[in-house]
């Protein structure tokens, strides 16, 4: 029996059910929705084959490009606001002291909250009349800085990205702390003996060692930001006037608010293509540097 347990075919057999479920519920729908993308379909009644028209309309819709731009803003802000901040924090919070453990839990806490709760909390913080932020500015005498934070199209995308970053730093922090703790003390000692000062040690010893982890977190971060949806739906619903629309909310609104299932399917196919391109780019860039 032990021999057969270790055998290849058994492993394959054991994985097969999970793989089947994954293929049926994750892979097949991707192709399915790509297929629906060729139809004009309301979700009810007959679907009409219209070839590439949906894709053409997407590319011609300025809202789609705005959504893409907003998503890219989110990606950049996430890489800066989540990965860099988490990396920085992890360097400070590495040692296992009481204070550090407390800080780590504090940073991780919003991750445990439901995204709807996070969205609602920040909705109230940003509230134009009774919001915490505007009240705070007023008490500080900065009345002229009061803004309808989620309303003004010049700033609302940035206002939206702050809670998203705030809520997502936690897991990256944990990943980085784990990676840093894996660096063996011999390397640290060797660096010390060679006389490396703190920042040199960081750039020439620590970072290169955990570079693999950094790349993984960036990939996670990009795909996470491209999927961003829930916080925005709760805070702004992609509005006002579609100014905070993301690819995912654009897809959702087209499919479930105006019942253009075919168009929505085409949008989701576009999201997959864009994600693939971005992650491919990331791969090329980080490989060269690594």
């Amino acid at each position: 029996m032990p021999a057969s347990l270790r055998s290849r075919s058994f492993v394959i057999m054991a994985l097969l059910p999970a793989l089947l479920i994954f293929i049926i519920f994750a892979i097949v729908p991707i192709f399915w929705s790509a297929y629906y993308g060729f139809f004009e379909w309301k979700g009810l009644g007959a679907a009409k084959l219209i070839g590439l028209d949906n894709y053409r309309m997407i590319l011609e819709d300025p809202v789609f490009w705005r959504a893409l731009k907003n998503n890219l803003i989110l990606v950049v802000s996430a890489v800066i606001g989540q990965v860099s901040v988490a990396l920085l924090l992890s360097l400070f919070l590495l040692k296992n002291t009481m204070f550090n453990r407390l800080m780590r839990s504090a940073v991780f806490l919003p991750m445990v909250l439901s995204t709807v709760v996070v969205g609602l909390i920040w909705g109230y913080i940003y509230h134009p009349q009774i919001g915490l932020l505007n009240q705070l500015l007023e008490t500080l005498g900065l009345e002229s800085w009061r803004r309808p934070w989620l309303d003004d199209p010049k700033i609302n995308m940035f206002a939206v990205s702050i809670p998203i970053n705030w809520a997502n730093i936690g897991p990256y922090l944990i990943i980085f702390i784990a990676a840093l703790q894996n660096i063996s003390s011999e390397i640290e000692d060797a660096a010390k003996i060679d006389g490396a000062v703190a920042w040199r040690k960081l750039f020439f010893v620590t970072l290169p060692i955990i570079w693999g982890t950094v790349v993984v977190t960036i990939v996670l971060c990009i795909s996470g930001s491209l999927k961003a949806f829930d916080h925005v739906i709760v805070m702004t619903r992609g509005g006002p006037a579609q100014s905070t629309e993301l690819l995912a909310t654009y897809m959702y609104n087209n499919t479930f608010t105006v019942y253009r299932y075919g168009y929505g399917s085409a949008v989701s196919t576009m999201i997959i293509l864009i994600s693939a391109v971005l992650i491919g780019l990331n791969h090329i860039i980080t490989k060269r540097r690594g």
């Binding site: 075919s9 009644g45 989620l150 509005g239 006002p240 100014s243």
Partner: protein, 443 residues
């Protein structure tokens, strides 16, 4: 050998699993049929969205329960589905052709799409059976449900009156402002309140249908007249790029430019705006009948005391009439195309039990508007609701925009109004609306 054995057992296990999963559904159907023949009970199913705790939802659920009690020979499978997911769930079962016998449908694009997809059958025979009931409905009650001439598909359970102008009497008296009945007076009121640091009109337009449903329907109707709108919606002889509609949007922009609404109106939701108004921070609020229920549920009697309700001011020189309210028949129960025989009879009886005279009265007494002549018992409803009800019954009803526009065009005007509040131009919004409506009406 052993490898082979493991391989075969796994395969068999998997097939067995799949097979049982598939079989389950088959079994159920069989047992269903078995039941019917042995017990002779008629089974019908009904779906609705009265899942909440508000008075109206309770009233409707009570009506269904009463029907169940009075008809022991019918087994009613009633499903209350929360409002937020209701539309999607109904569309899903419609696509799979597994709709319940009786279901709650909204006026406008939803029921139209079900009709187009051949999912509905008329309830005209029920109407003919109780002519007095039929005649007691208010004018226009069936306008959106007569998909074929002479055939009625739904008896509306409520009236959606969407554009009452609520105002705070105390604030008007304190600053000696006249309650506006003309556009000019409206502008004066806005200016006076702004000068005194009070928001003139509370608006929570985060979910962008609010400004469209509550304000633009009434406002534009006063400028363009109803006839023009119906033509433009049908894309027959009028277009949303007509100067008259750009004028109407211009009136809305005039409100925005004169700071009629509080800052950031596009980022707070309707409930927050209602709270803002009831706390006396805003002098007026243009909102639908639903605010009556919300305010009754959340405000104190002292807060409610100074609240009055009227219609939006008229617009001099406009083609439309003053003193109208935008609104129309609300949602109602519809009958599945595939329901036949004894089930159909039971389903029709159930529809009558809920939307018949007793049902309409029960619903009206739960403080919600109905499209039906009811002798209201004043002691059973709130005073504000009573005023609003009288106002609605005695006013002419004009169309709500999104009940006549396609879903897509509705979304365009929703977003367009937000755009106007962010500095957009009426011409651009009108053009986008025209494009969207033209796209959806072309066959």
């Amino acid at each position: 050998m052993k490898k082979r054995f493991v391989f075969i057992t796994t395969i068999i296990l998997m097939i067995a699993l799949l097979a049982t999963a598939c079989n389950n559904s088959g079994n159920k159907e069989q047992s269903n049929e078995g039941n019917k023949s042995s017990e002779e009970k008629t089974k019908i199913s009904i779906w609705h969205n009265f899942a909440g705790d508000d008075l109206r939802a309770k009233a409707v659920r009570d009506l269904i329960d009463k029907y169940k009690e009075e008809h022991p020979e019918v087994e009613v499978d009633a499903q209350a589905i929360p409002v937020d997911g209701y539309r999607q769930r109904l569309s899903t079962v419609a696509a799979a052709n597994e709709m319940p016998d009786v279901f709650f449908v909204y006026a406008g694009s939803q029921s139209q799409e079900f009709y187009d997809a051949d999912k509905l059958q008329p309830i005209t025979e029920l109407m003919d059976k109780y002519p007095e009931w039929k005649n007691n409905f208010l004018a226009g009650a069936f306008d959106r449900y007569e998909f074929e001439k002479g055939q009625i598909f739904t008896a509306p359970l409520g009236m959606s009156a969407t554009s009452f102008m609520y105002y705070n009497k105390d604030l008007f008296e304190k600053h000696s402002v006249k309650v506006p009945t003309t556009w000019e007076e409206m502008m004066t009121a806005i200016k006076t309140f702004n000068d005194n640091g009070i928001t003139p009109i509370a608006l929570g337009n985060k979910a962008p249908w609010v400004a469209q449903s509550t304000i633009i329907g009434s406002l534009a109707d006063r400028v363009t007249g109803t006839e023009w709108f119906l033509k433009a919606a049908a894309q027959d002889g009028a277009s949303f790029t007509d100067p008259v509609f750009i004028d109407a949007l211009g009136k809305y922009k005039e409100l925005v430019d004169n700071k009629a609404f509080q800052d950031g109106a596009n980022s707070i939701d309707n409930t927050q705006a209602e709270q803002y108004f009831i706390q006396g921070k805003a002098a007026m609020m243009i909102n639908g009948a639903w605010s009556l229920t919300n305010l009754a549920a959340s405000a104190t009697p002292e807060q409610l005391a100074p609240i009055e309700v009227t219609t939006m001011p008229g617009i001099e020189g406009g083609a439309g009439k003053p003193n109208t309210i935008s609104g129309g028949a609300g949602a109602g129960f519809a009958l599945n195309k595939n329901t036949k025989g004894a089930q159909k009879q039971a389903a029709l009886d159930l529809i009558y039990a809920v939307s018949g005279p007793d049902g309409q009265k029960a619903i009206a007494e739960s403080n919600s508007m109905v499209m039906y002549k009811v002798e209201l018992d004043k002691s059973k409803v709130s005073p504000l609701y009573f005023k609003a009800y009288e106002l609605a019954v005695n006013s002419e009803i004009t169309p709500v925009y999104d009940a006549y526009l396609s879903a897509e065009a509705g979304e365009v005007i929703n977003n367009g109004l937000q755009e106007l509040m962010m500095g957009g131009k009426p011409e651009d919004v009108a053009k986008k609306l025209q494009d969207a409506q033209a796209r959806s009406t072309k066959k």
